[in-house]
């Protein structure tokens, strides 16, 4: 069942287009920064974006940071929102259920496959950023103010941990998409809803007047992984972020299971 679902997704053009964008954007951004170093944003933006042209590792971190709050979210929303609604839209959901595939098993298999693709997508961003960064800016240590990693190896280890953390940060979007996917037969609705969750959360997170409520927003800790590279006041931010992402994922998954078990399949 898992193999079938994996192959089904791998043979879809939209999967390859999504991966193409994820891999292509860091390459294009790197080339643009190389050609126009004065307009590359060096010295501006979040810490990982400082001196993006200084080394391949800087470029990889910048790619992960920027993609994890927008384009990667769209792709993860796509993988989550298409799970059940995609089958319903094709009309194949009813045939899977009468095969029979138990609803719980079907949902969890779909989630697992979507998670595999979300993980691959996140690592694709990092790999593309790193490969294009090394090719364009060289294999040099991280550079920039306040950076405390000392060697390329240490930075590479931090980059790997950061990527794994971002995979976890995508779980709320993935599972929210899955949840919506059980509630509609229109994949675009579930995908848009999941992406919307991230956007609304990011907007609310920017409103400082909300005070501690912001700490409970699903995207509040998305970029907490930068703490691996910079001195920080709160060393437990990533732990809290991981816990929060898991809680959201479990709640959304629980609702998805509850809903799907009781759903009348009319598609």
């Amino acid at each position: 069942m898992i193999a079938v679902e994996l192959v089904k997704q791998l043979r879809r053009l939209r999967t390859w287009i999504a991966f193409g964008f994820l891999v292509g954007v860091p390459v294009v951004a790197g080339i643009a920064n190389k050609l126009n170093p004065g307009e590359s944003g060096d010295g501006e933006g979040p810490p990982f974006a400082v001196a993006t042209t200084a080394s391949g590792l800087n470029h990889a971190l910048a790619s992960l940071g920027f993609q994890s709050v927008f384009f990667l979210v769209i792709v993860v929303a796509l993988f989550g929102g298409e799970t059940i609604a995609g089958e319903a839209n094709w009309g194949t959901l009813r045939y899977l259920l009468v095969r029979p595939v138990a609803r719980r098993r079907l949902l969890l298999t779909k989630l697992l496959v979507a998670f595999v693709f979300a993980t691959a997508a996140t690592f694709a961003v990092t790999f593309s950023g790193l490969a294009s960064g090394i090719a364009l800016f060289g294999w040099k240590p991280l550079q920039g103010p306040l950076i405390f990693t000392t060697s390329q190896g240490e930075a590479l280890y931090g980059l790997t941990l950061s990527t794994i953390y971002v995979v976890g940060a995508m779980l709320p979007v993935l599972t929210f998409g899955l949840m919506l996917s059980t509630m509609t037969d229109i994949p675009a609705g579930a995908i848009g809803g999941a992406f919307g969750l991230s956007i609304v959360s990011q907007i609310l997170d920017a409103i400082t007047g909300l005070g501690p409520i912001r700490y409970a927003l699903p995207t509040h800790y998305t970029t907490a992984w930068i703490n691996l590279f910079f001195p920080i006041d709160d060393p437990f931010e990533m732990v809290r972020g991981t816990m929060l992402h898991l809680v959201y994922a479990l709640v959304f998954l629980g609702v998805a299971l509850w809903w799907f078990q009781r759903k009348d399949v009319l598609s």
Partner: protein, 304 residues
């Protein structure tokens, strides 16, 4: 021996709408049963409850003696074509069959693959992506999918939808052959001629409720439709309108179609001849379509 398929006091409500209302019927092993009814009668909802796709609001449904529910193991012994066939469009026909089969955690190829592919009759097109298929090709692939394992029970919703006459004949022949092997078949169809040709029994529904059930032969025998050809249609109509026991008279050139309601046919002929009307043809309209329409006309009361 228990029924191959049965529903007992089955009810399904969607909000305020009652789609299936206290429905009970059964299909015995080896029967080929047609599930008939006008649009909105509740046929598809009944089929979906049997397959565990829709949860009943009340009552129970059983397949091969096991309670029908989502994911029920008995579904492995049941071939299904529900509403329209549906496939993953970017995969080939054969790959769709393979993925469908493997999703049930069973090794490919299935035991009845050759027979199923022979019924599908797609030839080399089985390797083409399904999105390039015509409606008829999808339909045939759907029937093949339902037969990947020789089922004990076959539930088919509009199995000849989208097929040309030759393909329809082939599918009917296959269904008859399967029925001859003892497989129980439930066919939901709008094509009454098809049901008449293929089915041994029918269940007729309307507005979610059972209207009647029984063997096709018995139901057709109960029909009261008569077609007559006479030398003077106008005069004949005048004579018949004065007779008691006639429910309806419809012009059906070159003759008249009548729905009798208690008037024996010999008395009808005698009355016409007695009135000087020459009668050249008297034929009983014992077609399932007549019986079906008669059932609904009789519910609405006599037609004047």
């Amino acid at each position: 021996m228990s029924s191959a398929l049965s529903v007992e006091r089955l009810t399904k409500r969607f909000g305020d709408v009652v789609a299936v209302d206290d429905l009970s019927f059964s299909v015995e092993p080896g029967q080929v049963c047609g599930l008939l009814g006008p649009n909105g009668a509740g046929k598809t909802t009944t089929v979906r409850i049997l397959l565990g796709l829709v949860h009943a609001s009340g009552g129970e449904a059983f397949l091969l003696g096991e309670r029908a529910r989502s994911g029920a193991e008995v579904l492995r012994r049941t071939g299904v074509l529900v509403e329209q066939p549906a496939f993953v469009p970017h995969l080939s026909g054969l790959r769709n069959l393979e993925f469908y089969w493997r999703s049930g955690n069973e090794d490919w190829p299935p035991p009845n693959l050759d027979t199923a592919l022979s019924i599908a009759g797609l030839g080399g097109a089985i390797q083409r992506k399904v999105k390039t298929y015509s409606q008829g090709m999808r339909q045939r692939l759907g029937i093949a999918q339902s037969l990947l394992r020789k089922p004990e029970l076959l539930i088919l919703d509009e199995p000849t939808n989208g097929l040309d006459p030759g393909e329809m004949r082939e599918v009917r022949r296959s269904l008859k052959s399967l029925a001859g092997e003892g497989i129980t078949v439930l066919i939901s169809s709008h094509l009454l001629a098809e049901v008449e040709q293929v089915c041994s029994h029918v269940v007729v529904m309307d507005k979610g409720r059972l209207v009647t059930r029984g063997s096709v032969t018995d139901i057709m025998a109960a029909t009261t439709g008569v077609y007559i050809e006479v030398d003077d249609v106008g005069r004949a109509r005048g004579v018949i309108e004065r007779l008691p026991g006639v429910r309806s008279i419809v012009d059906d050139p070159p003759g008249l179609s009548l729905e009798l309601n208690g008037l024996p046919r010999p008395e009808l002929v005698a009355a016409l001849v007695g009135a000087g009307v020459g009668v050249s043809t008297v034929a009983t309209r014992n077609r399932l379509e007549e019986a079906f329409l008669g059932l609904f006309d009789s519910e609405a009361g006599p037609i004047e």
